[in-house]
């Protein structure tokens, strides 16, 4: 009996270690089996997978195939999966690591991102119209200068 209790305690202890934790999902986002957790908090899960970036990406494409508001962005050494719907998780980033495997980071849906992106985009509207203002000012200046030059030439020709 003592041995069983001891064994159970050891298993629980090993299971609670970050490097050995296993989970099927994090905030509803699927977690690829065989991953080694590097960091886990309420808002973020980071884990290493021995599978290649492409294999992990394929796993997520299949796992998320039913969801309609999912967006994939491919960068040079990573892929960013973002949810634009109402899921509890916001993004999954799959990056290549040095060992040929992949590092996967799952982020919780958060207001910091929403407010941040809205503020940036509001500023973006100002930037667009400010650029237009500059463009109009430059083109206006060029036109008035050319008109003045032409008027000057006409006056000189008349004289």
């Amino acid at each position: 009996m003592k041995k069983i209790i001891l064994l159970t305690l050891i298993v629980c202890w090993l299971g609670s270690m970050p490097g050995w934790s296993r989970a099927d999902d994090f905030l509803g986002a699927p977690v690829i089996p065989g991953g080694k957790i590097i960091d886990k908090s309420k808002k973020r899960l980071e884990f290493n997978s021995e599978k290649t970036h492409d294999q992990v990406l394929q796993f997520y494409k299949e796992a998320l195939a039913q969801l309609t508001d999912i967006k994939y962005r491919d960068w040079s050494d990573s892929t960013y999966i973002e949810d634009d719907g109402n899921l509890k998780w916001h993004s999954i980033t799959i990056s290549k690591n040095d060992a040929g495997g992949a590092v996967v980071i799952i982020m919780k849906d958060n207001w910091t991102w929403i407010i941040g992106t809205l503020v940036l985009r509001y500023i973006g509207v100002f930037v667009v119209l400010l650029c237009l203002l500059l463009g109009m000012s430059v083109s206006g200046a060029i036109i008035s200068r050319s008109v003045k030059k032409m008027e000057g030439k006409e006056t000189a020709a008349k004289a």
């Binding site: 719907g85 985009r121 509207v125 119209l129 400010l130």
Partner: protein, 381 residues
């Protein structure tokens, strides 16, 4: 022929009528349709759109009408064809922008380009409403499409909604056009609340005359800059600037006339009736459209505040002050919002005419709301 056979035949005929397929909820939609038809005819609120929209709502809310579905052979019904090719393909909003461009004189904006910033500031409500909509449980795409209502630009609202959340097309378009029509009712109280008597009496210098060359160059410069910075909205802005170039060039009078007249009228009919036709009782009667209508009003109010505050901030740095009453015109709704600024200005100084000054932010609002829509499309595409 036996009595039973006659009864069967009669029953067969009766089951092909709408009476035997009647649902209570369509009566509510008749009420909604009648309300918008009433607003269009009796109150003359945006009649060019609210009338066909109202009629579209009315006719699709009858049982068995072959208007917004498909035949057994898979062929689209009449209004479904208009909707599919006009709105799903995002053609109609762009063609309307072509016509608007051919009607618009950008002179006041070119003469006072600073007012472009007012058009940007007035998009505040778009982004604030987005947050409120997400809090209410809408998806991010739905929130963006609801937020853009405050930009007070019908075609832009329809374009963005069709792109991101087509299921909300009817309520969003209705809210946008209804509130655009109600700008004279919504804005004055906010304008008075946000300004003091001294500010309302600020006189602005008469706008300089704008040369034809500047007017010709404006659509080219604008199209170039928008294409570089927010390419996603170029279908709208490109057509807008094409229409304006046609007008200002003066060499394609026939095309300009068609774009601002016949073509515009034709697509307006298809737009109105198609938008109305999307509002079947089964899709419309839920809390979401009511919420959109409620939030749309707040959206308009915050956009108005955003425009006025932007003018006030600009006045801190400008030698020649701008009358903050023109800030409210930053919410597009051309030229209704500019007229409201003019009327409010005249209330406090009978000789202070603000109409031409307000046209600058008004036109900037069109570009600003399109830029905001472009930002959202870029966010999700």
């Amino acid at each position: 022929m036996t009595a039973n056979e006659i009864l069967d035949m009669l029953r067969g005929i009766l089951y092909t009528t709408g009476i035997f397929n009647f649902q209570w909820n369509i009566i509510v939609m008749w009420g909604v349709a009648s309300f918008f038809i009433y607003l269009a005819i009796a109150k003359k609120y945006e009649p060019l759109l609210l009338l066909p929209i109202g009629f579209g709502i009315f006719v699709v809310n009858f049982p068995l009408v072959p208007l917004m579905g498909q035949t057994a052979e898979g062929q689209d019904h009449l209004l479904q064809i208009f909707y599919h090719y006009g709105l799903q393909w995002e053609v109609i909003p762009c063609v309307i922008f072509l016509g608007l461009g051919a009607m618009t004189d950008f002179g006041p904006l070119i003469a006072n380009p600073k007012t472009l910033l007012v058009g940007a500031g007035a998009q505040l409500g778009v982004f604030i409403t987005f947050t409120g909509t997400v809090l209410a449980g809408f998806t991010l795409k739905e929130a963006a499409s609801v937020g853009i209502i405050g930009g007070a630009d019908g075609p832009t609202t329809i374009y963005l909604t069709q792109h991101l959340a087509p299921q909300l097309l009817g309520p969003n378009a209705l809210a946008a056009y209804s509130y655009m029509a109600m700008v004279p009712l919504i804005q004055p109280a906010i304008m008075r609340w946000m300004t003091n008597p001294q500010e309302r009496k600020i006189r602005m210098r008469q706008l300089r005359p704008v040369s034809r060359k500047e007017k010709i160059l404006f659509p080219l410069v604008t199209a170039g800059i928008i294409a570089l910075l927010v390419p996603s909205v170029m279908p709208l802005m490109g057509m807008f600037m094409l229409g304006n170039l046609m007008k200002e060039s003066g060499v394609v009078g026939r095309l300009t006339e068609t774009a601002q007249g016949a073509l515009m009228n034709i697509v307006t009919i298809f737009l109105g009736v198609s938008v109305g036709a999307t509002m079947h009782a089964d899709n419309f009667l839920s809390w979401k459209p009511l919420f959109i209508f409620g939030l749309g009003l707040i959206d308009f109010a915050v956009c108005t505040i955003g425009g006025i505050v932007t003018v006030k901030i600009m006045n801190l740095f400008l030698k020649e002050k701008i009358n903050p009453l023109i800030g409210s015109a930053g919410v597009s709704a051309v030229p209704m919002a500019a007229r409201v600024s003019q009327l409010q200005g005249l209330r406090y100084d009978k000789t202070n005419h603000l109409l031409m000054h307000a046209m600058g932010p008004n036109l900037a609002g069109v570009i600003g709301s399109a830029a905001a829509a472009g930002m959202f499309i870029a966010m999700f595409d």
